[in-house]
Amino acid sequence: MKWRVLLVGLTVLFLSLFLLVPLAAILVEALRKGAGAYVRALLDPDAMVAIRLTLLCASIAVVASVIFGICAAWAVTRFRFPGKSLLLTFIDLPFAVSPVVAGLLMVLVFGGQGWLGPLHLGVLFATPGIILATIFVSFPFVARELIPLMQEQGTEEEEAALLLGASGWQTFVRITLPKIKWGLLYGVILANARAMGEFGAVSVVSGHIRGRTNTIPLHVEILYNEYNFVAAFAVASLLALLALATLGAKALLEWKLRRDAEAAQREAGA
């Protein structure tokens, strides 16, 4: 009993210190000059561009990570081929490589002095570069979520469907997808959170052009450097709220998953 109180107390204390207090501080700072200043900071044209750009990059990155994640998970769990463990290692690369390095790699490839520089593709310091950088940092999440899930589920049901004459696509849509949908959604949520909050890689390839190539995190930095703290914290609070919404969605999903599992167990028991 004593131990329980102590441990729970410690956890709550830790979370308050490192999460709740800073979160509250952001909101307090953001509202220091009243709700009017808060709303003005969010409706500022440059902020709106940053919000749009962040949403655009995150949505494209999420779609990319879903397509890539399903392909990779399918390949890894349903086929045997040489170099499989190497492939798995590569999927983890964006976790291991610092995002700044990822950004610099893109400069080396697409930069004016880079390999593809003479082609003038207009990738770097423009929206395509920011999208590519965002995809790079967020693509492994869906694959990482699906691979263990699909490994655990095994291939029997798919094999049965194929034996009964279903096409590959039918098997995927009717058998595989319903089985992995919650894991998939979980991966999407994580990838989305990462994509929206990315700073390092995007900072290197953005060029920081106000009202054009600034994402929300970059816009927060600019405002902070301009001593415009109220606006900086207002925009930061938006990012924090997006993160909270993501966490809420995640909690809801976990609850739903647990309920499904319990229902399945009851069915099996009955």
């Binding site: 749009r52 750009l53 990059c57 003038h120 060029g207 052009i209 301009e226």
Partner: protein, 329 residues
């Protein structure tokens, strides 16, 4: 998720209402407020001349990093950086403007200048009056890394030039002086704004070496923090130049507007704004700034190329005198 995609797509490309001309100005950190005001005034002037609407996009960051981005392909009509060396790099490596760019506009292409001063805490508790006070034991000096920050290079050269003058031109003495000074630096930020925030926001250090305009600005923005400015008797004339990026401006069809933009900096309108933002106007100096004895980098080292070779190149003097993590030891 789908609605998210839709929202993103709807926003794609339609960032702003269409305007006639869109100029781009890649600049360094402490000019943010100045160019925000200047762009408005220039836009009015341009419309007044019947040339149609003009919008100026700004990009700010450490001067060296900004030059690097322009070399790597960040498209811009003009650059307004912290030191000529960074624009030289663009001319040499990317060949986007002629090498003699600095002779194309008056006053060495510097429509405004500044100098390096000290910012101290209220009441100047450590009694800092001049450069010698910065090498005393127990005085913590905040400055950025001169290998990455433009303003920080001016800081370093100001200290070097002062010590050289004091010792009658003995470089060994100057090296000893800057060594002692950087021993008092607890942390090197990468850029001028970072150093200012370290000093003002985080409350680290006793004295901040910074641009004069940045010192005025910090005092205005943080009135409650109670900062005092100390102008040393001798310092460096910091010359942040401006230049047309010929190749890019022509590609973008903006040459005439970009040239007019830079020339407008030299008019009474531009000079007045510069003074209001605490830069020393080159054409119309006026008397609003402290009288200090200022030397130029030209007089000191014969130009930036030589100064870089001698001080900031790998294994040059700065690398010899500063070892990270060993300060104060």
């Amino acid at each position: 998720m789908l609605s998210l995609v839709a929202a993103g797509m709807a926003g794609c490309g339609s960032g702003r209402a269409d305007v006639g001309t869109t100029l781009r100005n890649v600049s360094y950190d402490p000019t943010r407020e100045f160019y925000q005001a200047f762009n408005r005034v220039f836009s009015e002037y341009w419309v007044g001349r019947g040339k149609g609407a003009v919008e100026v996009e700004q990009s700010h960051g450490g001067s060296g990093k900004q030059a690097r981005s322009v070399i790597d392909g960040l498209e811009t009509d003009v650059v307004t950086l912290a030191l000529a060396y960074d624009i030289d790099a663009i001319a040499e490596r990317a060949k986007l403007l002629p090498k003699d760019w600095q002779r194309r506009l008056p006053h060495n292409s510097c429509p405004y200048t500044s100098t390096i001063v000290f910012l101290v805490r209220q009441g100047n508790p450590k009694g800092i009056r001049g450069w010698n006070d910065l090498t005393r034991g127990g005085v913590q000096v905040i400055t950025a890394n001169p290998k990455t920050g433009g303003g920080a290079r001016w800081n370093y050269l100001a200290a070097w030039g002062y010590a050289l003058g004091e010792s009658g031109g003995r470089e060994a003495a100057a090296e000893e002086f800057v060594r002692a000074l950087y021993l008092n630096v607890p942390v090197l930020d990468s850029g001028a704004r970072g150093a200012t925030t370290t000093f003002v926001q985080r409350g680290l250090g006793d004295v901040l070496l910074c641009w004069e305009n940045e010192a005025y600005l910090a005092r205005r923005e943080f009135a409650t923090e109670q900062l005092e400015m100390v102008s040393p008797a001798v310092s460096i004339q910091a010359e942040p130049p401006v230049a047309l990026v010929d190749v890019r401006a022509e590609q973008r069809g903006n040459r005439a507007a970009a040239q007019a933009y830079l020339e407008y900096l030299y008019t009474t309108g531009g000079q007045t704004l510069a003074r209001q933002h605490f830069f020393r106007p080159s054409v119309e100096p006026g008397e609003s700034f402290a009288a200090m004895k200022l030397f130029t980098v030209e007089e000191l080292e014969g130009g930036w190329a030589a100064a870089h070779q001698k001080h900031f190149r790998d294994n040059a003097i700065f690398d010899r005198i500063y070892r990270p993590g060993r300060s104060g030891g």
